[in-house]
Amino acid sequence: MSSTESSVGGFWRRFRRNRPAVFALGMLVAIVLVALLAPLAYPGDPFAIVARPFLPPFHDHLFGTDQLGRDVAAGIARGAMTSLLIGIVATVCAMLIGVVTGGAAGYFGGRTDVLLMRMTEAFQTIPAFIFAIVLVAILSPSLESTIIAIATVSWPPMTRLVRGEFLATKNREFVQACRSIGMSDARVILRHILPNCASPIIVTGSLMVATAILIESGLSFLGLGDANLMSWGYLIGAGRTVLRTAWWVCAFPGLAILLTVLSINLFGEGLNDALNPRLREAG
């Protein structure tokens, strides 16, 4: 049988083998650190005017200044927290909705399944990004409306995944054993089915954080971001009109998004390989 170390040790040993994933984890830790330490490194208001507009990068200001003379580096550092916050909170909400609806549909089946899945399909007929724009237009652009909009459009895929996982796990014999012991549905779901669906949910969740950040930057690009909140999407949205004369205003926040989303994805893949090794050996 496989080596006898406890599951957590095994997980880390397998995860370490995937070099890109480890690199990505390093990147993520760095980004979170930047987000946390930003208020210390760049105190005061990130919107403050610090120098003349359009100062090129790598001189006295690391990433140069934008068209109002604001420090782009301060914007990126302080913006990290917002973008990550929006990404994570929106994803957690979407995961909650997804797990509850997907779980109910998968576990109880029958009429509840048909009803819930019909509703999920209906939600997916409206193009996700346009739906997000409508929600933000209704609730007026703010941090909360961005999070609500992103969560509302990203839960359907999670529902489909969780429903599939519940259906598969529900028929396994150790769940039948629980039923033969006379265990209540709630206990069966929480202690037996959910833990065994955890790994695909976590992996998909990590990928959803990446998508959420992309949607946030898209909304800000179209001018629907929170006007008082510094975020990467805001920086790109503002920098877009001056792209050709001051490329750095758009380039560096774009790079920040790229690196974050890239490392989340690589980390997600590493997570996936480590959590279910079977996939790794195939081929």
């Binding site: 496989s2 039948q176 037996h192 833990p195």
Partner: protein, 551 residues
């Protein structure tokens, strides 16, 4: 014994670092004659399958490689051949068939295309001519309506039919060697009998050398001309089938043969007057594909049709039948994992079927189940201690008391106390079944339902688990419902036998009577299909002790 066709000289196959041993096959020398069936037998992990794939050059090369030794076939040394030459041999001179008929054929290609593909690769035969020859061979393997079969897709065929198609595909070019890697393990016993007969007939007719890989000594007794026994990658014994089966020289072979239960039923125990604990009256269960909003009613499957049985205290009732006979469904109806549609499930006179979930709770404790798949029946995310203790905890026993009882039970099933703190993936198949049994016993049930508890285990481990079950049953005076498709196991364990087919109980009665004089035609067919049924191995251990039933 024809002149040597295939000669394996001190073959060694290396496993990648980190595997549980260095070599899958270690210094094995073996010859396959012109016109004979050589059975290579051994338990899982013995390396028999790896050796077969080494011959065909199908090892997953970078990770598993031929380390040393030679495989000579018709003057050529296969392990040194370039890939292009090896491809000529595969399918033309040496052919192979596999274990899982369900997944061995490409689901999106018709049977005809998959068979004629062999012709297209090795000959210039294409189109109508190839199809004609394929149809001809389909008839040779006794497949009904060959023309229609060519246009059918794999999922439209039964397991047996798919295996026949595989055989046709393998033998169509008249290969001189056929390697069969456990071709009948996944089949029902009646279908298995037909396939074994087919292979033997074709072998005699085409005088091919067949290397037949199996773990079932019954199959060896049925068709083998010569036998080779493997253990942990080494060849422990080889020789003519009669000699090895009747007078095995190597101690490992002896222990393997001894572990195979004989087809001799237990002596009947006087059970008259012993109270009935469980009685099934016309139990019904039908699966109806849900009639959609507009879809007319889907296909309906009558899984169990008016089944009636009685189970007395201390009695072991065996329910025997092929896959799809409804035996598992019936067992699940009793344990209320599935809700039967009709009839009565009387436990000491109380009908469990109509009880609400809440009312059923106390009775769950009295009926417990042991499951088939060692890897699926335990929650991989839970420690063994929690798995066993969860039952009592749910029924109100304090956690400390439940864990204490779990420690007792883990010893009872033959594992050491430290096992409680570890996770299921750290145990072997046999050990996991023991944990499953401990879990079932945790609630001190009156009736234990064992649904094919040993069919996923190697024969040696099977024997130990069966002995454990019998021992527990007698010590705790449990009545047991024993579900199995293996008549040998049924004979060894059960007092009475009920035979099920397509959801109906066709015959039931004391084991001795049913084995000696089966009344129903299907039962007779079932007994006739048991491989090696006339073979009685000499050193048969006496059937399990016959303690006196208590009142």
């Amino acid at each position: 014994m024809g002149e040597a066709l295939l000669e394996i000289r001190s073959l060694r196959v290396d496993l990648p670092p980190g595997a549980d041993r260095a070599h899958a096959v270690d210094d094995v020398s073996l010859t396959l004659g012109q016109d004979e069936i050589l059975c290579v037998v051994g338990e899982s992990g013995s390396g028999k399958s790896v050796m077969a794939r080494a011959v065909m050059g199908l090892l997953p090369v970078p990770r598993v490689r031929v380390g040393a030794g030679e495989i000579r076939f018709a003057g050529e040394e296969l392990t040194r051949l370039p890939e292009s030459r090896m491809r000529d041999i595969r399918g033309k001179d040496i052919a192979m068939i596999f274990q899982e008929p369900m997944t061995a054929l490409n689901p999106v290609m018709t049977i005809g295309r998959q068979v004629t593909e062999v012709l297209a690769v090795h000959t210039r035969l294409t189109g109508a001519e190839a199809r004609r020859q394929a149809a001809e061979f389909m008839a040779a393997v006794k497949l009904p309506d060959p023309e229609a079969m060519l246009d059918a897709y794999p999922h439209q065929l039964s397991g047996g039919q798919r295996q026949r198609a595989m055989i046709a595909m393998a033998l169509i070019l008249g290969p001189r060697v056929l390697i069969a890697d456990e071709p009948t393990t996944a089949l029902d016993v009646t279908t298995q009998a037909q396939i074994l007969a087919l292979i033997r007939d074709l072998q005699r007719e085409k005088r091919t050398g067949v290397m037949f890989i199996t773990h079932d000594f019954g199959v060896v007794a049925e068709i083998a001309d010569r036998v080779a026994v493997m253990q942990h990658g080494r060849l422990v014994e080889a020789g003519p089938a009669q000699r090895v089966l009747s007078a095995p020289s190597h101690p490992y072979t002896q222990s393997l043969i001894a572990a195979v239960p004989n087809l001799v039923p237990r002596k009947a125990r006087p059970l008259q007057g012993v109270p009935v604990t469980l009685a099934l009256r016309d139990v019904e269960k039908t699966y109806r594909a849900r009639a959609g909003l507009l879809r007319r009613a889907g296909r309906t499957v009558h899984a169990v049709r008016s089944a009636s049985l009685t189970l007395r205290r201390d009695e072991t009732l065996g329910i025997v039948g092929e896959s799809g006979s409804g035996k598992s469904t019936l067992a699940r109806c009793v344990a209320r994992i599935i809700d039967a549609d009709g009839g009565q499930v009387l436990l000491d006179g109380v009908d469990l079927r109509t009880l609400s979930r809440r009312a059923m709770r106390p009775y769950h404790r009295r009926v417990q189940m042991v499951f088939q798949d060692p890897y699926g029946s335990l929650n991989p995310r839970q420690k063994v201690g929690d798995i066993i203790a969860e039952g009592p905890i749910v029924h109100g026993v304090a956690r400390g008391e439940a864990l204490r009882r779990a420690a007792e039970l883990i010893e009872l099933v033959g594992l050491d106390g430290k096992a409680l703190a570890r996770y299921p993936h750290e145990f072997s198949g046999g050990q996991r079944q023991r944990i499953g049994i401990a879990r079932a016993l945790a609630l001190q049930p009156d009736v234990l339902i064992a649904d094919e508890p040993v069919s996923a285990l190697d024969v040696s481990v099977q024997a130990q688990v069966l002995r454990l079950l019998a021992d527990i049953r007698d010590r705790l005076h449990l009545s047991m419902l024993f579900i199995t498709h293996d008549l040998r196991v049924a004979a060894q364990v059960c007092d009475t036998i009920a035979v099920m087919r397509h959801g109906e109980i066709v015959e039931s009665g004391p084991a001795a009577e049913v084995f000696a004089a089966p009344k129903h035609a299907y039962t007779r067919e079932l007994f006739a299909a048991v491989p090696g049924r006339n073979w009685r191995h000499p050193t048969a251990a006496a059937p399990l002790a016959n303690p006196q039933p208590t009142g």
